[in-house]
Amino acid sequence: MADKHIDEISGVETTGHEWDGIRELNNPMPRWWVWTFYATILWALGYTILYPAWPLVSDATRGALGYSSRADLAADVEGARTATGGIVEKIANTSLDEILADQQLSQFATAGGAAAFRVNCTPCHGTGAAGGQGYPNLNDDEWLWGGDVNAIYQSIAHGIRDSVDPDTRVSEMPAFADMLKPEEVREVSSYVVSLTGTPRDPSLVEAGKQLFADNCISCHGEKAEGNRDMGAPNLGDAIWLKVRDEAEIAKQIQSPRHGVMPAWATRLGDATVKQLAVYVHSLGGGE
């Protein structure tokens, strides 16, 4: 204390601190306040003994109660698992059609599938499942291998052209560079474009139509409507997996590129694949 000073009005000693002529009164603290203050210090000490607190060189003290936030998290995760009340097991033991018919199961599967989709599927299909060039949009109603929930399940579980899974969906379009001359490829391209648009040179369409009938209808169908058993796309609708461009189509005819999707059943387990199938089916294009 700088100097003893008694405030005239209140008769209370001041702390000696002064700000612009205002002095701070030094009223006594209530004693219980002081005891409370000491109690908080004791509490803090006890806390650092009971809980992890003191930093060491490469670790910290563990605390007498053995508390750990990791264990807490594990308990929470376990709790969440129990809280679902075996619904995941129920999904695993129920057919997909029955899941769709059951409101509770389908809601759970849609939500669970959405979560699994974000983790596993978005790198190729995008977060909104809208796909991209070469990667199918799962929202629309065009399906290469079928759009009912069982067909979707089959595609996810065993993949497309998976190198290991024996049940994977496989098809391969031959490279027509060896079989068709370049001008014939142009003619076929013109015909394919003419199905939904206007080709650059309409005079090629007639010849192209004949070539298509000779070479392509076994997979793509007489009306170019595609074939889901073969994963052959419908060429006469508005949706294109790649680009509707004559040069691109010609390239695809000459040396086709094929998408590959891994088989997910072994990685994610049947229940998760089922949930994924229900989720994809729910996006709007499901049949």
Binding site: S10, G11, E13, D140, G284
Partner: protein, 529 residues
């Protein structure tokens, strides 16, 4: 009402017992220690109209607190029948005929604003009336003091008991007192939890040990706080812990009513009024009997002037009025007075501050006050400041009532899919996805018609409701629930324009004619936003 009228005015000069009381909290004793032990206060039981008023307030406030959860209110089979219920698990708040959803929490915020302005209004008009009468701390301390008085006797008996060595008598009295206090504290904590669950079933579960752990914890914590704050700490809470006395200081002005010792008529005080009168000395009305100090639950002497520790409970007014009645002097030596009135009377008594208080300046020869002495007047309450507070308070209240009467019990919210914003279908049509939430905010099941307004060529499908495209669907919504619907709207190829199209979703309850709509946007490829 004239506070200065005494039924015993002019009656015989009775002897007044002088109480040997010292203020426990006098302003500023010099050379104080750094830390101060709490000094015990033994308030004497007061009698009078303010004491009676405080009993009534205590009865009403405690009655509301303890009994409200037990009031039943029939809301039909789909909602709880407890009149006041904060249903945290289901996120609903029930207050008699009002049900509030979380998004309607502004009603509670509005009530808090009203509570704030109500306090401003009350404080600027009648001073710290909240502290003195209605604050839970005051009410429970009052209750605990009543219990203490009932078990241990009044002030003197309690002081004697406190000073006495431990004996069976002392031990049994103390045990009885603390047990009763704890019982009250348990009841207090117990009543709290009934606001959050069905009271009868929770009470049964609680007693049989089946209630949730949080219920026991809540009761334990509130029992401890009630017992410690109301029984043991009492005035320490108001003086050291509560910020409100400091804030209220800013709301008082020279026209606010505060409990005042009218030293302009009390001084010079004398313990020997008769002798002094016989000796021809001019003396004031205060006989220095210390009755006001003895009854004070805060342990102050109101004659030291208005001070922070005074909660304006007005018990000193009752005590002093009793004494004034006894000695045949007009009531109101200690009274609710405004600073303005007090200073005007002080100026009279001291000749504008030039002399000490001279009783003759404010009295006629027969002892009555001269006409210039200002008395309490109800009109001081109605002044611009209080009227403004009242105006704001009423405006908020009316706004809330209007909002309550005009609020929707059927709402629709629409969330447009952002990824993808649109989907091209194989036939060239464009599809947009929406999540529609239907809020059925009444505890009855309803059939809601969902339809579209605008975008005439478009059709919609609702997942789980229909696979056939259309523009009007009936959807069943459970009572008091929100229903989320996945809706796909498809616009045929021919109708697609390169612009986004605005339309509305309409939700309608055809039986009650309630309707709500929500603006939505239909995106197409090439559309600019």
């Amino acid at each position: 009402m004239n506070l200065y009228t005494s039924p015993a005015l002019g009656s015989n000069d009775q002897t007044v017992e002088r109480i040997d009381a010292q203020p426990v909290h006098p302003p500023g004793a010099s050379r104080q220690p750094l830390y101060e032990k709490r000094k015990k206060i033994f308030p004497k039981k007061a009698e009078g109209r303010f004491r009676r008023f405080k009993w009534i307030v205590m009865l009403i406030t405690l009655g509301i607190y303890y009994l409200t959860p037990w009031i039943r209110w029939d809301r039909g089979p789909f909602a709880p029948d407890q009149a006041v219920l904060i249903d945290l698990a289901n996120r609903r708040f029930y207050f008699f005929f009002i049900e509030i959803w979380p998004q309607e929490f502004f009603f509670v915020a509005g009530l808090l604003v009203m509570a704030g302005f109500g306090l401003f209004l009350l404080t600027s008009a009648v001073g710290r009336a909240w502290c003195g009468y209605a604050c839970p701390q005051t009410v429970w301390v009052d209750l605990f003091l009543a219990v203490e008085g009932f078990i241990e006797g009044d002030r003197n008996a309690r002081m004697k008991l406190d000073a006495a060595p431990w004996s069976f008598n002392k031990l049994s009295k103390r045990l009885t007192k603390h047990t009763t206090w704890i019982a009250i504290a348990v009841a207090t904590g117990g009543a709290w939890i009934f606001y959050f669950a069905d009271a009868p079933s929770l009470a049964f579960d609680f007693v049989t040990g089946q209630a949730a752990a949080i219920a026991y914890w809540t009761v334990a914590v509130l029992t401890a706080t009630t017992y410690v704050l109301g029984g043991l700490m009492r005035e320490q809470v108001c003086i050291y812990m509560c910020p409100w006395p400091r804030i209220q200081g800013a709301m008082l002005d020279e026209s606010s009513l505060v409990v005042t010792y009218n030293d302009w008529r009390g001084e010079p005080r004398s313990r020997h009024a008769k002798k002094a009168a016989a000796a021809g000395q001019a003396i004031g009305d205060c006989v220095d009997c210390n009755a006001c100090v003895a009854v004070c639950p805060m342990g102050i002497d109101i004659r030291d002037g208005q001070q922070l520790a005074c909660i304006t409970c007005a018990l000193c007014i009752d005590a002093c009025d009793g004494v004034m009645d006894k000695i045949g002097k007009p009531r109101g030596l200690i009274a609710y007075a405004t600073l303005e009135e007090y200073e005007s009377n002080m100026a009279l008594a001291t000749n504008g501050g030039t002399t000490v208080i001279e009783p003759s300046r404010i009295r006629n020869v027969d002892g009555t006050f001269i006409d210039q002495v200002r008395h309490f007047n109800w009109r001081v309450i109605f002044r611009p400041r209080t009227l403004l507070y009242f105006g704001v308070w009423s405006a908020v209240g009316l706004g809330l009532i209007f909002a309550l009467l005009s609020r929707d019990r059927l709402e629709v919210n629409v969330l447009h899919d952002r990824n993808p914003q649109f989907v091209l279908e194989s036939d060239g049509s464009i599809r947009n996805g929406y999540t529609i939430r239907l809020l059925n905010m009444i505890p009855e099941p309803r059939t809601i018609m969902v339809s579209m307004e605008g975008l005439p060529e478009a059709t919609m499908k609702i997942t789980g409701v229909t696979d056939v495209p259309g523009r009007l669907f009936a959807v069943n919504v459970e009572p008091d629930k929100t229903l989320a619907l996945r809706v796909f709207v498809t616009l045929p190829k021919e109708a697609i324009s390169a612009q986004t199209s605005d339309f509305r979703f309409i939700a309608e309850d055809r039986s009650s004619h309630e309707q709500d709509s929500y603006a939505a946007v239909f995106n197409t490829p090439g559309a600019k936003k």
